[in-house]
Amino acid sequence: MDSQLRRGLLEALVLKVLSYGDSYGYQIVKDVSPYLEITESTLYPILRRLENVGKLTVYSVEHNGRLRKYYRITNLGHEGIQLFVQEWKEVTEIYEFIKRGKRNE
C-alpha cells in the first residue's frame, strides 16, 4: 500500500479509536491491528504528529509503579475524523463503480 495512504488511514484509525475513550500505546496498537497492520514504531510517529497538530493531548497516569502515557482526542481530532469520512465517501463511490461487473450493474 502507498505509504502516504497508509499513514492517512492510520491517523484516522488512531483518532477514531481514541474517540471511544482515552487510551495508551499498546492498547491502541491492539485496537487498530484488526483493521490495518500497525507496529509500535509506526504508531509512535503518528501519535507525535497528531499531538503536534493538536488533534490529541497526552497525560501520564501511574500504573504498577511506572508512568503510563495516555492519549486523549481533542475537538480538532474529532474534526479530523469528519474530514476523513467526507473525503472517503467519494473514494467508496469510485470503488463501487470500478468493482462493477457489467456496465449497468
Partner: protein
C-alpha cells in the same frame, strides 16, 4: 520454551541501550520521550504475559525504529541532528573546525543558500500555479456577472439578438465557473501534499545520514 534463536533473542536492557546509542543525535527531550515510549511498550506486552525477548522482538528491527524516528523530524531538527553528529569534544578540534567553517564559509554558505532557494522556488512555482488556477476561475465568475449586466443593458436598448448572444455566453462562462469552483479545496489540498512531498524527499538524505549505523 523460548523458540527464538540466540542472536535474535535480545533483552530489554540491551535493546534500549542500543536504541539510545542510535538515537543519540536527537534533541535530549525527544530522545528521552522515544526511549520511554518503547520501554512502556515492552512493559505493557510483558504484562500481557509475553516474554521479554518476544516483547522486544515484536517491536521489529531496530533499523526501522531509527529510520522512522529520524525521518519524522522537522527540517531544522534534522539539520541540528546532523550537526550533532559532527561535533567532537576536544577543544582543539572544536577550534580547528570553527576556523575551517569560517574560512570556507563563502563556499558552503553559497551552496546551502542555493539548495534552499531551489527548494523554496519549486514550492513557490507550485503555489503560484495554484493561485493562477483560482484567479482564472475567479475571472470566469466575474465575466459571467459582466455578461449578465450586458444582457440586461441589451434588453433595455432593444437589441434582442445581442442580448441572446451575451446570455448564451453568460451560461457557458457560468457553467465553467460552477464546474471548477468546487474543485478549489481539493486542488488546494493536492498542492499542499505535493509541496510536503518535495520537502519530505529533501529530508531523506539527512535522515539516512544521521540514522545510519555508527559504532561511536
Amino acid at each position: 520454551m523460548n523458540s527464538l534463536k540466540g542472536e535474535n533473542a535480545m533483552n530489554k536492557e540491551l535493546f534500549l541501550q542500543q536504541l539510545r546509542v542510535r538515537l543519540q543525535y536527537l534533541p535530549p527531550l525527544e530522545q528521552q520521550r522515544t526511549l520511554s515510549y518503547y520501554e512502556e511498550m515492552i512493559a505493557d506486552r510483558m504484562e500481557d504475559g509475553i516474554s521479554e525477548q518476544e516483547a522486544v522482538a515484536a517491536l521489529g528491527p531496530i533499523e526501522n525504529i531509527v529510520k522512522d524516528t529520524y525521518e519524522d523530524l522537522g527540517f531544522t531538527q534534522l539539520l541540528q541532528a546532523n550537526m550533532r553528529m559532527n561535533t567532537t569534544n576536544k577543544i582543539s578540534d572544536k577550534i580547528l573546525i570553527a576556523l575551517i567553517i569560517f574560512i570556507t564559509a563563502p563556499f558552503w554558505l553559497t551552496f546551502a543558500v542555493l539548495a534552499f532557494s531551489i527548494l523554496i522556488s519549486i514550492a513557490a512555482v507550485i503555489f503560484s500555479l495554484f493561485i493562477a488556477f483560482v484567479a482564472v476561475i475567479f475571472a470566469f465568475g466575474i465575466s459571467a456577472i459582466a455578461c449578465l449586466a450586458a444582457f440586461v443593458i441589451f434588453i433595455i436598448h432593444g437589441q434582442p439578438l445581442a442580448a441572446l448572444f451575451v446570455f448564451g455566453l453568460m451560461l457557458v462562462v457560468a457553467a465553467i465557473t460552477i464546474a471548477l469552483a468546487p474543485t478549489i479545496p481539493t486542488v488546494g489540498r493536492g498542492t499542499m501534499k505535493v509541496v510536503k512531498e518535495i520537502f519530505r524527499s529533501a529530508k531523506k538524505p539527512l535522515a539516512d545520514r544521521v540514522g545510519g549505523k555508527n559504532e561511536k
